[in-house]
Amino acid sequence: MIDELLLTVLLTSVPLILAATGELVAEKSGVLNLGVEGMMLMGAVAAFGAALVSGSPYLGIISGGLAGIATAAVFALFTLGLATNQVATGLALTIFGTGLSGLIGAPLVGQAIEGLPEFHIAVLAQIPVLGAAFKLDIMAYGCILMVSLTAWFLASTRAGLILRSVGVNHDSAHALGYPVLVIRSLAVLFGGFMAGLGGAYLPLVLTPHWAEGMTAGRGWIALALVVFASWRPWRLVAGAILFGGVTIMQLAGQAKGWTIPPQFLSMLPYLATIFVLVFISSRGRNYFGAPAHLGRVFHPTR
């Protein structure tokens, strides 16, 4: 019972971790992309379509990631190429992605695919309770790998340092000769790739169907998660498991007849994020690794 519960918590947190890791990198470079939900939906519909047509869920993974990149490219074109407002463009991206995925997916409704198989890691999967963490699918393991790589890239590589410097002060980075817009574009595309993968996880692992708007607000939770984790990759994993755990607690709570309404548990991620935001801002921005130029439009000077 308890290991099944743990398994479900881990499964629910994977799409959050994937999407939030991508958004974290984009935000570290100074770009606030509110289009995560739209990119996830595009990833989900592309993954489902590819897996349905080809019969291979692995092609679904690739297709989901590519669809995320393509959607993010639209965002990069407008916010970076045409210097549009990031908040409004991100909202437009979510509205657009929700609509386009609905149109693409309209003929796919009601069909089912073969999901990704589980990989049991030899001896470790036998461990009672904690063994659940070793009975996952290839994307869940890959997700931890991506977080490790992201954490290493941001903290320990020269390129990561440059990316962070662009997010802290784009004018200084520009003056030092770094190509601000190129770096931000790459970060946004990476964010799209990861959001696409996060979306792909839903039809490939969680429910083998396509339904319009199937991400059900996970993109917004991923966005909240990045702030909640105060822009640190490993805290993000902890936060995602916590948020995923909250979702599962509601279901378990309903089954056991708890008196606390499930809606209040669902509010927790959002309320927690607001508290973290207030806490961060009251302590001064840079204290918590918040990118100082987050969401600011960059106009290159010569």
Partner: protein
């Protein structure tokens, strides 16, 4: 390399052309997407933008759909003019609907004419209260209002979900998540036009919405408060030197836009639904953001912009039935429209100029540095 060179002056025709070109470009881009996905583009555009108006009563329905967009859009114009990014109007709308519903459901047997105005006041207060959270967080802790107002939208959605399933649920609703119906005194009645009579679902909320937009226009263009709002958005330093308080403007525009969103929520429920249910708005709070941009942050233009965007919404309903595609597909048009409007915004304020490697403008007649 292309650089964006700030324009010193923007001709009026550019200001007027940007929304028109954006709408036309949206139709073309949307048609292309439909074509790529194997739908015949012209019939699809017909279903979305012409078929909805093929019956006279649909004009009434268009105004009804535009009503919340105009009210919320007017409030958002104030926020965005002051450079305050309230994107949580959807949550403030829900808060307003809940506040008004609370009053209506407390007096189930009343026939008093004061119920409806009372509900409007409750709605405005609840919406303003919901918007006061990001406002106070911003003023006290300098917390980013974008994320706080956005997060509160989801909190509000969950709150109304709990209310209609839990404490306020109608015991006679057979387990459906619905509150009892409001008393008749708490409903907004249909509007009878002279010579025509009833036109679709047209109700008294629509003239109220038009009035709000006009009042908003006069406040913004003719009164000191409106001047403060614009000044704080365009030149906050100059505003502080003039003795205006940035905090008061922040709180003022957020409370105003929250209150208006709340009022829109109350009108939506009292005119069209008659009771609270988990989904009372189809993203009007988000769609109104597009309306505000399409109107180029001018309250009078919000009326026209609201009608244009409402047409796309109405088209979504039509296409859902005739083309068997989900209602959200209308988001393709709404999203692209906002993309183009934002790009147009940049191109009116900046001029793209081509600069070669040596840093000189290639365009003749420009100053070289």
């Amino acid at each position: 390399m292309i650089f964006l060179q700030p324009r010193t002056s923007v001709p009026l025709y550019v200001t007027l052309l940007v929304p028109v070109i954006s709408v036309l470009a949206t139709l073309i881009a949307g048609g292309l997407i439909f074509a790529v996905l194997g739908y015949a583009p012209l019939p699809a555009l017909y279903e979305f933008f012409i078929a909805p108006l093929s019956r006279p009563d649909q004009f009434g329905n268009l105004l009804v759909k535009a009503c919340p967009l105009i009210i919320i859009g007017t409030g958002l114009v104030f926020c965005y003019r002051a450079n305050i990014w309230n994107i949580g109007a959807e949550g403030q709308l829900i808060a307003g609907a809940v506040g008004a519903g609370g009053l209506a459901l407390s007096f189930p047997d009343t026939t008093s004419v004061f119920l409806l105005p009372g509900m409007a006041v409750c709605a405005i207060l609840s919406g303003a209260l919901w918007a006061a959270i990001p406002a106070l967080c911003k003023v006290w802790f300098r917390t980013n209002e974008i994320l706080v107002s956005l997060m509160l939208t989801y909190v509000a959605a969950l709150l109304i979900d709990w209310i209609v399933r839990g404490p306020w649920r109608d015991p006679m609703s057979f387990g459906f998540p619905l509150t009892p119906y409001y008393p008749d005194a708490g409903l907004i009645s249909a509007l009878h036009l002279p010579f025509i009579g009833r036109l679709g679902q047209l109700h008294w909320g629509v003239p109220v919405a038009l009035l709000i937009a006009v009042a908003g226009y006069f406040f913004l263009s003719r009164m000191l408060g409106g001047f403060q709002v614009k000044l704080m958005g365009d030149a906050p330093r100059a505003g502080t030197f003039a003795g205006f308080s940035p905090n008061r403007v922040t709180i003022g525009v957020l409370l105003a836009s929250g209150g208006l969103a709340g009022l829109a929520g109350m009108i939506e429920v009292s005119a069209n639904i008659g009771q609270l249910q988990p989904n009372i708005s189809f993203g009007y709070g988000f769609t109104a953001i597009i309306v505000a941009f399409l109107a180029r942050l001018n309250p009078l233009a919000v009326i026209v912009a609201g009608l244009v965007v409402a047409l796309a919404e109405l088209g979504g309903d039509t296409a859902q039935i005739s083309m068997a595609i989900p209602k959200v597909v209308t988001g393709i048009f709404k999203g692209i429209l906002l993309f183009f409007l934002l790009a147009g915004e940049t191109l009116t304020r900046f001029q793209p100029v081509w600069v070669d490697q040596t840093g000189k403008f290639s365009k003749k007649g420009q100053k070289t540095i």
